[in-house]
Symmetry: C2
Subunit: 420 residues, 2 copies
């Protein structure tokens, strides 16, 4: 096998541990000099390939690359940029191949969610058609936990831990003030179509009396009457009520509770503000004093309280991607395979991209309680191991020491420009 | 000195470390059996005294009391309940004294902010007038950091750390996505009249290029034109802009940017939603894609990332309150005295309550940069030591192990009922 260069890119919303996957890719590639030459990274994800704006990770010290393991965000820049279908915009794929050819890139590691799995799959297809050998390996990442086949998605465990911890903490606050102050606290969490993050809040409590008392999942159509009745009962029974609402919570007709009316590059609706919608509903209908929090980016960047399990898995899929590549794999994704719940044991398997792309894994109905407002014991068994363990970053003067890479550009070789 | 009982109550908004002060009070009192008999706590703060609904902390194990040090929220319940002036409602103060007399309470430890310092002061005054000897000691607590005399307020350092850490983390997220996604991120933080918490976000960055790029303080009237110009310049220079806005940010005429129109028991306006106001202003005027987070209660309950300095100081003021009491002090507050910035050294001094009550310490103008959007070097020197050190709670199965006390009621002795 000839010594080819590798191209690594981050895609879509970043996470607390996507850089841990980058760390796994780069550290492992550096040990495979016989197979892999340079590791280039896309500046701002796949856009960096299209614009031939790549970063030479070889210019980074060993310590800097190691520090990626504890640094949130996307160290090379990520992008919300979905390549269209091959028929619609073949030019973009051909440009990718042109850039890969110019820089002698034989390995494509694409670190993202469902959309990037799709792109990765298409690159592998086109590479065969164009007779230019690129091994396309998808490295799973998404806080939404909605990729199929893999037991969980790196990035999710840390958001889950952050939300479970924050819910437990805020609930203690609310409970202690409820007599004279806030009775209903609403926490808005991410999760456009799948309620995995909202479900994780359920780990904060054990009994029906514990917060969160109500979880609103995207999978369960919002029933205003049932919701208000539950909140009222809760305040009467426990003096307070903690509600966790997924940004994707929707009415039976599919309308989001909070529809901001704008869309992103993927055509997804931009959501936000559902916490306020819910809180005001509670005030208007029940008269309770409320507060609400919107975790937004704080939840997916909270490396300070990352799940150790998640960090390890994020690193492992990056490492496995390279190991699979040097063994000749193509059009594949390393996947996490659960071997047992207690003790939690897992290993790395593989999933063919044809079966990953554009499939969304929602919460199974059996993970949600009959009333639609909580999580079941099987759900708890599934989630618990994913938030286990702490993996604190190093601190100096009270703040976590996150690395900023040099991100030195690879000299361009092509004369042609590409317009996005 | 006769062996009298003590009454401890938590007041106002709780913090990540108010229970550390409770821990300091109770552990220290338990070592002073010659002076202090039982330590009773008010169920839901001062309301517990008025209703003669007190908790016998003696029923809690040594381990449970020790665990208060790492448990957020208010373990006995707190209250937003301000006693009126002596002339307006002498009955409340007389009721307090009646309950204290019935339960042989000679020490009153009131753990709160400016309002409770005022109450504490009035109790000490009335106690003299009624010739019933109650030593009233105020234990400082407030995330707003707005008490006078003391160098800082326990509770503030941990919020400050949470906000600085979260700002640094979210900024990495936004920076990595800015090319194709969110350009402006707005984080709303607490601070009704004083911008200390917002200022703490400034610790997240070192240079003008680092986030947060704009801080909106309550102390600086909001200048729409200057704000939008700064955001625009920021996005042009760095491709993104992080804005931290205090809930108390206001126009020159004093109107809050987000005025929800409701008030709490103290007559304070209930604020919230300023992040959305600011974010939509940016979109409407500059057209940038935005996201916003509202930390709300998450920030003041985030014991998982508490400042070690803050935890130590919270414990120390609780301990000092008891030590002062057994030495005969009255109408006083233990205060934190800063001896040097680097290395940070502090000790416990005292402040007479007459000088503490109802005075608000705002950010001095010299702590805010000339343009009104950032913090100065002297501010940084003041803030940095307060967030230093981590003090992680114990974890089990991925979640912090916070204690829930038994909170056994003290049998009532009075026949009379009191109506709040």
């Amino acid at each position: 096998m000839p010594n080819k260069n590798a191209f690594y890119a981050q895609s879509g919303g970043v996470t607390a541990v996507i850089n841990a996957s980058a760390c796994g890719v780069i550290e492992t590639a550096r040990k495979q000099r016989r197979h892999i030459g340079k590791v280039y990274a896309g500046r701002n994800g796949i856009i960096g390939a299209l614009l031939e704006d790549m970063i030479d990770t070889g210019k980074e010290s060993k310590a800097a690359i190691a520090a990626l393991r504890h640094t949130p965000g996307g160290a090379f820049g990520s992008a919300r940029y979905k390549l269209k279908g091959l028929d619609e915009n073949r030019a973009e794929y051909e440009r990718l191949i042109e850039v890969f050819r110019a820089h002698d890139i034989g390995y494509f590691f694409y670190n993202g969610g469902g959309d990037s799995a799709d792109t990765c799959y298409k690159v592998s297809q086109l590479s065969k058609k164009m007779n230019f050998p690129v091994q396309a390996i998808h490295v799973p990442k998404t806080v939404d936990n909605d990729l199929p086949i893999t037991d969980t998605c790196p990035g999710f465990g840390s958001v889950a831990k952050y939300i479970a911890v924050s819910t437990r903490e805020a609930a203690l606050d609310v409970a202690s003030m409820a007599k004279t102050s806030t009775k209903v606290f609403v926490l808005e969490v991410m999760g456009r179509h799948a309620g995995w993050i909202a479900a994780a809040a359920g780990l904060a409590g054990q009994t029906r009396a514990d917060a969160p008392h109500v979880i609103l999942f995207p999978e369960i159509p919002f029933d205003k009457g049932a919701f208000l009745a539950r909140v009222k009962q809760c305040v009467e029974d426990y003096e307070y009520c903690v509600v966790v609402v997924s940004e994707g919570a929707a009415y039976a007709d599919g309308t989001f509770l909070a529809d901001a009316g704008t869309t992103d590059a993927f055509g997804h609706k931009q959501l936000g503000g559902v916490a306020q919608t819910i809180a005001q509903l509670v005030r208007d209908e029940l008269g309770y004093k409320y507060h609400y929090a919107i975790a937004d980016y704080l939840q997916r960047s909270a490396r300070h309280i990352a799940s150790k399990t998640d960090v390890e898995q994020a690193y492992a899929v990056g490492k496995a991607a390279v190991e699979l590549a040097v063994k000749g794999a193509n059009s594949i994704m390393p996947a996490i395979v659960r071997k047992s719940d207690k003790p939690y044991r897992w290993s790395i398997g593989t999933a063919p991209l044809a079966r990953v792309a554009n499939r969304e894994k929602k919460m199974p109905r059996r993970f949600i309680t009959g009333d639609g407002f909580g999580i079941t014991a099987p759900c708890r068994r599934y989630l618990e191991p994913l938030i286990r363990g702490e993996d604190y970053p190093p601190y100096a003067d009270g703040l976590p020491q996150y690395v900023a890479l040099k991100n030195v550009a690879v000299p361009k070789k092509l004369k042609s420009q590409f317009v996005l």
